[in-house]
Amino acid sequence: MKINKLTQNQKTAIVSLLYPLFSLALIFALWAITAAYYDSDLLIPSIGTTFEKLGELLVQKQTYVDVACTLLRALRGFVLSFAIALALSVPAAFFKPFARILAPIVAVMRSTPTMSVILLCLLWTNTQVAPVFVTVLIIFPLLYTAFYTAITGVDKKLTDMARVYRVPFMTRLLKLYVPSMLPTVFSAVRSTLSLTVKLTIAAEVLAQTRNSIGVDMQLANLYLETPVLIAWTLIAIVLGAVLELIVYALGKLCMRWKNA
């Protein structure tokens, strides 16, 4: 494909791909240099050894079972956090006393150290529920704050216009409030979804949850199989990245008007 025969859009797409590819190349170069310097698979395994172990994991059925179970736990926690955050942020945005009552509760949840939450959840719940519970306690305040900000940040000039023209509540909600909130909501979902995966894995490590990426990582660590540990880390990174990509694509679809 000759460069001068490409359309402007094609050139832009190629250039925008070059940046992340360059970043990846930089990361692998640093990895290779560091691994060569330490020359120890226990400390920093080589790229080759790590990808060999990754290959071994990818042909095992249990790998996919563990990934699916971790993903389901993460999504369960996320969906629950999303639903509770939305259900509470809407009345909080329109009824100030309710927002004032919730504010200190949300602040405490946001400030509580993640490890405290995980250890307490292990005491209060079982190994299967703990990762979901941890996710809700940590992700809910982030989503609540984002949703509350999105609703109260809807342009007052537009809400005044809707008031003057006596637009019914449902029409205002669906055609003014929801579209106005979408950019903030999608941005919050993108950042919290990958955090959810990380939290779930951390909780699984401590809770020893059966069929989980967390336990797989802990076992690799126990047996000093650093290449396997990093291979699982790569799987977790890809999982988070795929989820972010899905949310990004959904966002583009829901906010088509931005690119019109």
């Binding site: 216009m161 006596r166 637009v167 055609k175």
Partner: protein, 234 residues
């Protein structure tokens, strides 16, 4: 007809309007002028029900408001923005859509129905806002510096559309403006507000028919001077 009877509007401790009265007759265009901060926009917002007030306002049960900014919802198309304000008033949605299309055609935006606000120029967005105001079935149209920030040619075009739609809509209109030329071109009567609390400091009648004013420069100059002097004195 709009009747504002002894209204009081306060912002905190400050009294913006105290026992303020004003009347606008049917088919009349009233232009409200005055120094910045005198309360012109507050008056419009009180009429539209956006600021609390005591006293009585008759004839403002249903108001079309063309704001200073276009106030178009970015995620709705041009026709979507009109329907947002009007579709709940019609049982037949197709009728609402047809009226919205006609309004866009009347302001020279035929073919722009499915364009989003960020793809429209300032003048085009103002025309959609104008079409929305005239589509909304009400007896009163209020506008707050509707042609502000537009170049002379675009403002002139919009004034023509405004008059064309006003003549066919049987509304009365209140226009807030800083432009004396706009007042002389559009209004049947101009009032100058001033003081604290705000009151009517001057009233200028423009009795010459609008279509004849452009030919009579002396008349326009005389009225412009009268309005300017009243604003300075307020």
């Amino acid at each position: 007809m709009l009747e504002i009877i002894n209204i009081n509007v306060n912002y905190g401790e400050k009294s913006v309007f105290k026992d303020f009265s004003l009347e606008v007759k049917d088919r009349e265009i009233l232009c409200v002028l005055g120094k910045s901060g005198c309360g012109k926009t507050t008056l419009l917002n009180a009429v539209a029900g956006l600021v609390p007030h005591t006293g009585e306002i008759k004839g403002a049960d249903s108001v079309s408001y063309m704001f200073q900014e276009d106030r178009l919802i970015p995620s709705l198309t041009a026709i979507g923005n009109i329907l947002f304000a009007t579709s709940h008033l019609y049982k037949d949605k197709n009728e609402a859509k047809a009226i919205a299309k006609e309004a866009l055609k009347a302001v020279g935006l035929e073919g722009f129905e499915n364009r989003y606000p960020h793809t429209l120029s300032g003048g085009q967005a103002a025309r959609v806002s104008l079409a929305r105001a005239f589509c909304y079935p009400s007896g009163l149209l209020i506008t707050d510096e509707p042609f502000k920030g537009l170049d002379i040619a675009t403002a002139d075009t919009l004034e023509k559309y405004f008059l064309k739609l006003f003549e066919s809509s049987h509304k009365c209109a209140v226009i807030v403006s800083h432009s004396v030329e706009e007042a002389v071109a559009l209004a049947d009567r101009a009032v100058v507000l001033g003081g604290s609390p705000c009151s009517v400091k001057a009233e200028i009648i423009l009795d010459m028919p609008r279509e004849k004013r452009t030919e009579n420069l002396a008349y326009c100059a005389e009225k412009s001077a009268e309005i300017k002097a009243a604003i300075i004195a307020s």
